[in-house]
């Protein structure tokens, strides 16, 4: 009986510890982000570094974004057509493809692709700088490491995510057109007029709000995981960096989906 009671309290206290840790971690991330964000505006502006990061996070992701957008749109066209044709309303395909892309798939897929391409490398790069004492070196030179490393990346993410999302939406809609009109024979005029009439400004801004929120989540988590590589329980050296990179990708993907749900329920 006593033993059972002991086990019960043990698991409750373990749960408690875990929740406290989680809340603390979230708090630290919030502080980390606010510091990184505010330091974007500190003088002198780091225009060069931000541009470099926009090139890395944004520009270099365009190809992979176009590729995934095209195939996402094409699949939506196929699936949408075969579903809608059952109700005889295949003419609505344009609306179905455009709305699901602009409201949902555009921002989410963009975020997930950028996490895979740039987020992981940001976490690894900052993690390696941490373990090779480069971040300590910055501190000894009186250069704020958060301003130097995190701010440009946060700024670049805030600039790149909405733009990449826009590209994703447009390419995706054309992907839907490819399968819907060219392959399955829906009149292109109907397809595009449905796109035009169904998408309102609110959908577009909603999508962009999501993109900005994802930029905050992804840039913060990836930088944070790399920056605190050395504080991981069992992660030393290269092992620590690999663990940080993995958790950066996993946590940001999961959080993107959670944030997406929360935002959607507010925006609808």
């Amino acid at each position: 009986m006593i033993a059972r009671l002991g086990m019960g309290t043990h698991s409750v206290s373990a749960l408690g510890r875990w929740v406290i840790f989680l809340v603390q971690e979230l708090g630290r991330m919030a502080v980390f982000f606010s510091k990184g964000f505010l330091l974007i505006f500190s003088l002198p502006f780091q225009v060069g570094k931000i541009t470099q990061q926009v090139y890395f996070i944004g520009m270099k992701s365009i190809f992979v974004i176009c590729l995934t957008a095209a195939f996402t749109g094409m699949v939506l066209g196929l699936q949408g057509y075969y579903t809608l044709v059952k109700f005889g309303s295949e003419g609505l395909l344009g609306a179905a493809v455009a709305l699901s892309l602009v409201r949902e798939l555009g921002p989410v897929m963009t975020a997930i692709m950028v996490i895979g391409r740039a987020g992981s490398s940001v976490a690894a790069e900052i993690g390696i700088m941490r373990i090779s004492e480069e971040i300590d070196a910055l501190e000894t030179m009186d250069i704020d490491p958060i301003r130097f490393l995190v701010s440009p990346r946060v700024a670049a993410a805030l600039i790149s995510f909405p733009l990449l999302t826009a590209i994703f939406d447009v390419v995706g809609i054309f992907g839907g057109y490819l399968t819907g009109s060219c392959l399955l024979g829906i009149n292109p005029g109907i397809y595009f007029s449905r796109v035009e009439t169904s998408v309102v400004m609110g959908d577009v801004t909603g999508g962009f709000v999501k993109a900005v929120a994802f930029a905050v989540v992804v840039s913060t988590i990836c930088c944070f995981q790399g920056y605190y590589t050395h504080t991981r329980a069992h992660g030393f050296g290269a092992k620590g960096v690999s663990l940080s990179t993995t958790s950066a990708v996993v946590i940001s993907c999961v959080l993107v989906l959670i944030v997406d749900y929360v935002l959607t329920s507010f925006l609808l």
Binding site: E134, E139, M141
Partner: protein, 404 residues
């Protein structure tokens, strides 16, 4: 006594279960080079990192100019930090930046100098540490020794007031090792910075330090001048210092200073007991600073090395030649009186030629001037007197300027 620049008071630090520092007390004075010695893994780097604030102590406090760092505001701490510079043991260079950008980074980020001024400063510094044509290279393309020198350049480029060197010479060859030492000592004289050096280079590093501290078992077990550490009776300190001291000075191939002192004592005892005379010569390279300045530190050290070789080959096998500081050499001539010492001097001045040590000459009006003083030991006078009289003007008969 002056107000110490940095003071550790009962500083303790634990990493997990492992105690690194235990009630450590340490005093560092302004304008001096303090060397921290101790076995590997004893916590020397941890001690240094406390000074610059990379690690906070668990208990105890660190005072800067008498003020506790822990009670300073953020701005005050930044102001303190701005006066420091740190050279990391593993260099901590930015792998994704070129050598030039690495050295220029602290100037670009913390000063308002123009690009041309930064370029000039960096180039000067790169010259001084004897690196050429590597501006565009990345740290991973350099050898370990070159990386060390890039890190040194980065630490000194901001003209800091206090520089912390974490093993600045580990992994360098003897000439470069000594070049780095004489560079630290030179800079210290020129800019008056305070240097804190963690090093294993005993006794070389004693030549440039005014103060030595030894860390052992989390405590500072010795603190004092290089002369004092030679006379210390504590077996642990003695064993450590003697254990690391080579039988030969690695640069010049001569005996190191402590063994010369030992030999002098032995000769003195012989003189007192058997009336066997002995003399000493004290050779000082007068313009080493100028050579360092104009031809580079490595060139300066190479010349010193060649001069030492030339000198040794012209002495008797029983004579003892020893390094006696950065630019001084002492020669002990057993069973030699004053007159014989004088003729040895004359012989050396006649025989050692510039071509022996510098071919080709590093710069047009190059000269290598060495002043030589000599003295015969007297049994009723202390040893210190012997060296002082060898150095005094009265005895400095020869000054050979090797130039063409």
């Amino acid at each position: 006594m002056d107000q110490p620049l940095i003071q550790f008071e009962n500083v303790s630090k634990k990493f997990g279960q492992q105690t690194i520092l235990q009630d450590t007390d340490l005093t560092i004075y302004k304008g001096e080079v303090t060397t921290i010695i101790g076995k590997s893994g004893v916590g020397k780097s941890v001690l240094l990192k406390h000074i610059i604030g990379l690690i906070e102590p668990d208990s105890g406090q660190i005072l800067f100019n008498g003020e506790p760092l822990s009670q300073m505001t953020k701005e005050q701490r930044r102001a303190v930090k701005r006066r420091f510079s740190y050279m990391f043991q593993n260099t901590a260079l930015f792998d994704s930046m070129t050598v030039f950008d690495n050295i220029a980074l602290p100037l670009k980020e913390t000063t308002r100098l123009s690009d041309t001024e930064i370029r000039k400063k960096v180039n000067d510094m790169v010259e001084r540490v004897d690196l050429h044509d590597i501006d565009g290279k990345y740290p991973s393309q350099l050898s370990g020794g070159m990386k060390k020198r890039v890190a040194l350049a980065r630490a000194l480029v901001t003209d800091p007031e206090t520089v912390l060197f974490d093993e600045p010479t580990t992994g360098l060859d003897p000439i470069r090792k000594n070049a780095v030492h004489s560079m630290i000592s030179d800079y210290q004289k020129k800019f008056g910075f305070t240097g804190i050096v963690v090093s294993h280079e005993i006794p070389d590093v004693f030549y440039i330090s005014q103060r030595i501290a030894m860390l052992q078992g989390g405590k500072i077990v010795f603190q004092g001048t290089p002369e004092e550490i030679q006379q210390v009776t504590d077996p642990e300190v003695r064993e450590f210092v003697l254990g690391l001291e080579g039988r030969h000075d690695v640069l010049t191939g001569m005996a190191p200073q402590p063994s010369a002192e030992q030999r002098l004592k032995e000769e003195m005892a012989l003189l007192k007991r058997h009336e066997t005379p002995f003399s000493v010569l004290l050779l000082t390279v007068e313009n080493l600073d100028e050579i360092n300045e104009r031809a580079g530190y490595t060139a300066g050290q190479t010349l010193l090395k060649k001069f030492a070789e030339g000198l040794r080959s012209r002495l008797r096998i029983s004579d003892v030649c020893a390094r006696y500081g950065l630019s001084r050499i002492v020669v002990i001539l057993p069973q030699t009186n004053r007159e014989q010492a004088r003729s040895t001097c004359a012989k050396l001045a006649r025989e050692i030629e510039l071509d022996d040590i510098a071919d080709p000459k590093p710069y047009a009006e190059f000269s290598f001037s060495v002043s030589v003083g000599f003295a015969e030991a007297q049994k009723d006078k202390p040893l210190e007197h012997l060296l002082v009289s060898a150095e005094s003007k009265k005895n400095a008969l020869y000054e050979f300027r090797l130039s063409t």
